[in-house]
């Protein structure tokens, strides 16, 4: 486990830098650091490991506290006459005696001292030496970098153990410091490389440019701005290397070249485990849940119906209710736009429909998702898989990360035909080219073997669309398909999607937070807030006359050409924390017209009527004051 003091420094060095002010990134680094430190202290494994390291350091400083026996004093008879007594804690014969009759326990205690001293001093030495050279190479570049980099290359060619053996052989009397010298002399280049890479990254950060623009000197920039931000990876590598140096020293001793008295040190030293990221349970096994056999398909029902869906996330801080009773339906050829801020539950609903929600932490607690009348939540994994891609397909937001970077787009497109239709390799490729033509990718034939990173953002999103369309599914779910694109490209991609949807008569669920995208393509809109639908309406009715204060606020916050010179409206406050959704209407703390009723009672999704009391088809509003909002 990482050394206690090192971790602390990692968090605190950036924190001291905040008085320089002009560095937003430092602010972030600081809060991250202290958060991590806070989290660490609550982890028992960290506390235990830290205590062990501390114990080791205490042993190194004061071995006399743990044994009064001289590790060098041996009585040859002891080895043969005395057996180890494992219940004699902290006594000379606890671990028994070695061949020369020395107490093994005492030797372990004193041996720890050599290990800790070598480990810490070597680590400090290589960090300082490597840190300085790495910083120079990374910051100044040019010939300084060339020289330093070549020198590190040269040192990398010599194995550490081998070099140490050669160097130590030159010392006639070897002390702990000759070992330290040999290891530092050979090991520093490792830190140079790490520091150089880190400095090169930090050097390009905006706050360094800002500091330069403000006229800060080179020394100041290096010391105050670069060092604190670049040191973190070095410290991580140093913590791991510490264990390595201790092991190398032990091996040198074993080979008879290190410290002579330390020869028989055992393996009793905690070592840093490779730092693994905090792990969350993986999605693979969990996209799949029910195993009941499906019934016959029922024709004549809507394509997809979501009924009273509830989804929760079980987190460390409590249960986040992400979706709380969502109802919507889509028919063939129809476009439903689901509108909402991040955290409104729009994407979680879509992922649940697709069956790609990470479970755990996600959990469907209630509700049905009917595809042509059949509850998909009750289907077997295999049945569900066959619907995915073939009947219901999804378009993701960020095509660059949603496409596999190491497979050609032709392969990824063709895979649909190979897996679902058993097409041959050649057929699949021909179909892939056809699809790419269909989404108007120029020179499809030449580009079919290209990789995702070789396409522009707009082209990649077209490939995503082509992939979703490949098997002509009944329904497409598009999760913010244009968010990552430029405005002009956005329009092209949306047009393409709308055109293809009409052509194949597919249902489309368009998830977005952008009201502008919705207006042209959607038939009806469902507005979501805090995991509930707060208003549904045909698209033009909603724009013309919203029946919920939240929708009203959203519409007012769109910039308009006819209102030049005015301040842009923004809904006050922030979306609610899903761990603590406000009582009553979740929107009430941000609502201008909220009453006491709104603060206590959750509004039902009311049917909406016009001024004459005639029901407006397709219109619902979850507001106690829908009448006032709509007509007032």
């Amino acid at each position: 486990m990482p050394d206690l003091t090192d971790k602390k420094t990692a968090g605190e060095i950036p924190a001291q830098r905040t008085e320089t002010g002009a560095a937003p990134k430092q602010e972030k680094a600081r809060s991250l650091g202290s958060d991590a430190w806070h989290d660490l202290r609550r982890k028992p494994i960290f506390v235990i490991s830290a205590l062990l390291i501390l114990l080791l350091i205490v042993i190194a400083i004061a071995p006399g506290l743990f044994t009064s026996v001289d590790p060098r004093a041996g009585d040859l008879r002891l080895h043969y006459l005395t057996k180890p007594n494992y219940s004699h804690f902290f006594e000379a014969d606890w671990f028994g005696y070695d061949l020369q009759g020395r107490s093994i326990y005492a030797r372990v205690v004193y041996g720890a001292r050599a290990s800790v001293v070598v480990g810490i001093t070597v680590t400090l030495g290589v960090t300082i030496l490597g840190g300085i050279t790495g910083m120079l190479a990374g910051y100044f570049g040019g010939w300084i970098d060339t020289i330093i980099s070549r020198v590190t290359d040269i040192f990398f060619g010599i194995p550490l153990l081998l070099g140490a053996l050669v160097i130590l052989n030159a010392f006639t009397s070897r002390t702990i410091w000759s070992v330290v010298f040999a290891l530092v002399a050979l090991g520093w280049t490792q830190m140079t490389r790490v520091m150089r890479g880190s400095v090169i990254t930090v050097k390009q950060a905006d706050f360094v440019t800002a500091a330069k623009a403000l006229g800060a000197g080179t020394t100041r920039i290096l010391w105050k701005h670069i060092l604190p931000n670049a040191i973190a990876p070095v410290i991580v590598v140093a913590t791991i290397a510490l264990g390595g140096y201790i092991a190398t020293e032990a091996t040198l001793s074993f080979l008879g070249i290190g410290l002579h008295h330390a020869r028989r040190r055992g393996a009793r030293r905690p070592r840093p485990e490779a730092p693994l990221r905090e792990e969350v349970t993986t999605p693979m096994t969990t996209v799949i849940e029910n195993d009941q056999k499906s019934d016959r398909l029922d024709v004549g029902t809507p394509l997809l119906e979501v009924k009273d869906l509830h989804v929760e996330f079980h987190t460390r801080d409590g249960i986040a209710k992400a979706v709380n009773g969502v109802n919507y339906s889509v028919a063939a050829g129809e476009t439903l736009a689901v509108l909402g801020e991040s955290g409104s539950g729009k994407s979680v609903t879509a992922q649940t429909i697709m069956g790609i929600l990470d479970m755990p932490p996600g959990k469907v607690t209630q509700g049905e998702i009917l595809y042509r009348g059949q509850d998909m939540l009750k289907m077997s994994n295999e049945d569900r898989r066959k619907i995915r891609g073939r009947k219901i397909a999804m378009i993701f937001q960020d095509a660059l990360s949603a496409l596999n970077p190491v497979l050609s787009v032709g392969y990824q497109l063709g895979e649909m035909f190979r897996v679902h239709q058993g097409a041959s390799k050649a057929e699949a490729k021909a179909k892939a080219i056809e699809l790419m033509d269909r989404v108007r990718i120029p020179a499809a034939k030449q580009r079919v073997n290209d990789y995702p990173h070789q396409f522009s953002g707009g082209m990649r999103q077209r490939i995503m669309i082509a992939m979703a369309l490949s098997l002509q599914p009944d329904l497409i779910i598009a999760d913010e398909p244009t968010t990552a694109l430029d405005v002009t490209v956005q329009a092209q991609v949306m047009d393409l999607l709308a055109e293809l949807q009409a052509e194949y008569n597919m249902g489309l669920i368009l998830i977005t937070h952008d009201l502008g995208v919705v207006a042209d393509v959607a038939d009806k809109i469902a507005v979501m807030y805090a995991g509930r639908i707060v208003e549904t309406a045909p698209v033009h009715d909603l724009y013309a006359n919203p029946a919920h204060p939240y929708t009203k606020g959203l519409l007012r916050s769109i910039p308009r050409l006819d209102q030049k010179g005015q301040d842009l409206y923004a809904i006050k406050g922030l979306p609610p924390n899903l761990l603590k959704v406000p009582a009553g209407c979740a929107f009430n703390p941000r609502c201008d017209v909220a009453t006491d009723l709104c603060r206590t009672e959750i509004p039902a999704l009311h049917h909406v009527t016009d001024k004459d009391g005639k029901e407006l088809t397709g219109r619902r509003s979850a507001c106690h004051l829908w009448k006032e909002t709509l007509h007032g």
Partner: protein, 308 residues
Amino acid sequence: MGSYVLRRVLQMIPVFFGTTLLIFLMVYSLPGDPVAALFGEKAADPAVVASIKHKYFLDQPIWKQYLHYMGNLFQGDFGTSFTGRPVADIMADAFPVTIRLALMAFVFEMVLGLALGVVSGLRRGSIADTLVLIMTLVVISIPVFVLAYIAQTVFATNLGWVTPTVQDSYDLSQLILPAIVLGSLSLAFVARLTRTSIGENLRADYIRTAVAKGLPRRTIITRHLLRNSLIPVVTFLGTDLGALMGGAIVTEGIFNVQGIGNVLYRAINQKEGPTVVGIVTVLVIVYLVASLLVDLLYAVLDPRIRYA
């Protein structure tokens, strides 16, 4: 690609000379008189010492020694050890043994390491995963000489399956146990690296896409997950193969394998300059070639990397 390889090869030249010079300096300019060491406890005849020194160029300044050595090297002459045996002969005896040992260790660490890593990466938190984590942690924490002694005690002394040390270094079956010990540390790294890499890639967007495409789990794992996850592992394996070829001083020593590591260890202790420098020169070449291959392999595996 071609011009990249050429540039890399050109860059290797100064590194090659630098590294060999460094080891040359370490071997010849550090204190300690190798010729005197030849005579052991006996007093040496100054005339004999002088003639030996002259024969091995040791009476020349260090830079002349280096140039002389390099000149011979490019004519294929690795020099002669102080015992009179050509260094090339010594290496010809030892390298085949080390290569066999290294390849066996490599196959062992690769096959088992990948298998363990994949299983534990896919089933995080399962019993299998926990076992893999604990086992690899133990292996990583224990210095190799301890592991070697444990293996010796268990398999030779207690079970009697093998002889404690290798009797015939050319017999592959006798090399199995040393190879396992030698490969075990890297195996632990491979398993952990694979596990972490798989865990990270499992959460990648393109895996979500693959699920949404309705691909069977098997296809998702083999086609989409493994290829991406293996990139860092392959890099590690490539570098490690280079390192294994350098011989294993400790493992070869304990099991009495007559490979490069053993020869090198003895040569260092006896201040056998020509042998040390000769072997290290070859090792530097192996290292340089291995790291070039790793870089090229990286580009093959990850199409985002194109060397121009």
